[in-house]
Symmetry: C2
Amino acid sequence: MNAPADIKSYMLKVGQRARIAARAIARADTETKNRALLAAAGALRRDAKKLISENAADVLSARAGDKDAAFIDRLTLTDKTVEAMARGLEQVAKLPDPVGQISELRQQPSGIRVGRMRVPLGVIGIIYESRPNVTADAAALCLKSGNACILRGGSESVRSNVAIVACMHEGLKAAGLPENAVQVVATADRAAVGQLLAMNEYVDIIVPRGGKDLIERVMRESRIPMIKHLDGVCHVYIDEGADPDKAILIADNAKTQRYGVCNAMETLLVNEKIAPRVLPQLAKIYADKGVELRGDEEARKLVAGMKPAAEDDWYAEYLAPILAVRVVKDLDAAMNHIAKYGSQHTDAIVTENETRAKRFLREVDSSSVLVNASTRFADGFEYGLGAEVGISTDKLHARGPVGLEGLTSQKFVVFGSGQIRT
Amino acid sequence: MNAPADIKSYMLKVGQRARIAARAIARADTETKNRALLAAAGALRRDAKKLISENAADVLSARAGDKDAAFIDRLTLTDKTVEAMARGLEQVAKLPDPVGQISELRQQPSGIRVGRMRVPLGVIGIIYESRPNVTADAAALCLKSGNACILRGGSESVRSNVAIVACMHEGLKAAGLPENAVQVVATADRAAVGQLLAMNEYVDIIVPRGGKDLIERVMRESRIPMIKHLDGVCHVYIDEGADPDKAILIADNAKTQRYGVCNAMETLLVNEKIAPRVLPQLAKIYADKGVELRGDEEARKLVAGMKPAAEDDWYAEYLAPILAVRVVKDLDAAMNHIAKYGSQHTDAIVTENETRAKRFLREVDSSSVLVNASTRFADGFEYGLGAEVGISTDKLHARGPVGLEGLTSQKFVVFGSGQIRT
């Protein structure tokens, strides 16, 4: 694994190879793609020891580089994580193949029948942190959706990723598919990312999976479309018509089930009519779990010792045991707050009132809008997509968790019997 | 209609107003939007004389500016074109409203039900030539799909557009909707386009309708996503299994029904086995209609006096009575030609062979792929979309003719009964 001397020409070659492989993988049938996935899963299991030893070298360098425990944890492969990767490939093989599906054909007055066929996007560039399990997941989703991919994991995980992709190559080869359909950027040189972002000609879409810094960089540097979310400032609104028990369960779960995830609640909005009934009780639950509350004036009247929230708190994605709390007059005030401070990621209402639930569903402009369920459900697995390559808060193409379908497009297909236009 | 002194601050105000109006138009119900469209149609009819007189002033200036006859023709409004605009609004009112539609809800193992709801994109910027009828069409499609729009027609049509938009405003007002949901850039200053392209914050998508120069400019200058097609290098492939009569009808129609349109055939590919049967006959038809043929060596053997095609001819979008002709060995050669020289717009195969038809449909990576029908059908009306805002050859979001649905996105909606994630 020698770092190539000239990153630009190395990356251009990767791009050219991906573009060529994309045509072959796009026309591969479902059975062939599944065969590749299952063979790759077998290779991962067989090579578990080798993968773990390559990974150990990565871990050693990372430790020497003073990375923290959480980083090392995400980087480290074990027998269990290798098995999980293999099982992940098998699960993707079981998912329905979107490619080639034709939506309802409709006959037009001219006599032609018009429908839409799902087709792959082409070449997908995925940039992620030093988490080798993402390598297998992302490659599997791209392969199954008929796309070629260029994988660029964190610099500290190059040896692990090269070893994992070798197993993917073995699977592709066994199925008679081009190995270049899955490529890993085999250099720790960070210049490779800049080059990947500049290859409009060879890369159809970029999926940046990682921190805000990475996503902001991609937005700044690249003109290639991307699937991304920048922030997850998620809200739960407890409506006056909420069932108080459900409201408390949901507001607790949305904040405390996991703190560091993009679909965790960051601001709790409570209708003034129900606030005296639910807020003190919730405050006690949060206090017991060590969650710091920062409230507006009304909220602080109901909960002794609550810190005051500053304007910045309404915009904050804490990803930590901190919660902003605001008491609002009505549904409109809640939706205005979300429109102003939210990040269009995931927002929930708790209410038994159908009219207000419908208004919230329709009018809140976020990638996921929930009624009487925790924001933590905003996830490809929980939504039944089988897996996800990421969550999009953009409006074009794909919004919310992006599974196989989000990695495809639709073209028009027309069946005629000699029709001409008059 | 004074040109504003400071274009930048003028455009920023237009953008801010659009962003605010977008929220109101997004939540408007179908009946209200239809009422606005019908009232606007009534206003157009009532103001026909005024529209035509404002337009006459535009036409006068354009003539003074030495514009050619085709340009003046596209610019000119008549009683007939005003009536067609009014009828266009009424037709859009009749189309089904995509906004708020929820796709099949599916219950997940956790008990939540997950579906997708169609939602507007937000603010759409449309840049087009001096064709005032586009003003009414585009405004109607944006309004019905729940989007605010900023319309920027050609500099020579400002007075006409302002008058048309006044009728749209009357309709919006009658329905209780904000007038700013439809705005026209009321200045002939071309700097307004540059400013529109820079307003990422206020414009969600740009639709450039016009020549290649405009689209290349938008691609160069803007980071706002767009719905566009750059070229229409469309092919018809006559397969060895084609019905010769259908093949001749389709190849004739695809080229000669109209020359200057993006879905006209620019290159004819003929299988070598059927070429002797169809090519001489087609050559005669084209000769009678004054179409110049430029062929490869094999084609020239079959048609006396055919000019030789140069490499550039395969890439050419003539938009004129010129046709490139190539004889190919088989389906793969035809598809390789299309992959190399095509523009992913619209391509057709003529064949009675189902296997090869299926391969062509699946493997040709264009926004429209047709079997036994003329490329000229690639059009929103012919496809049953009711209308189109343009044709997209991009792969993300919308491909092919873009109607109301292409101006919307889908968000996830979740119905729970108190579910939390464990």
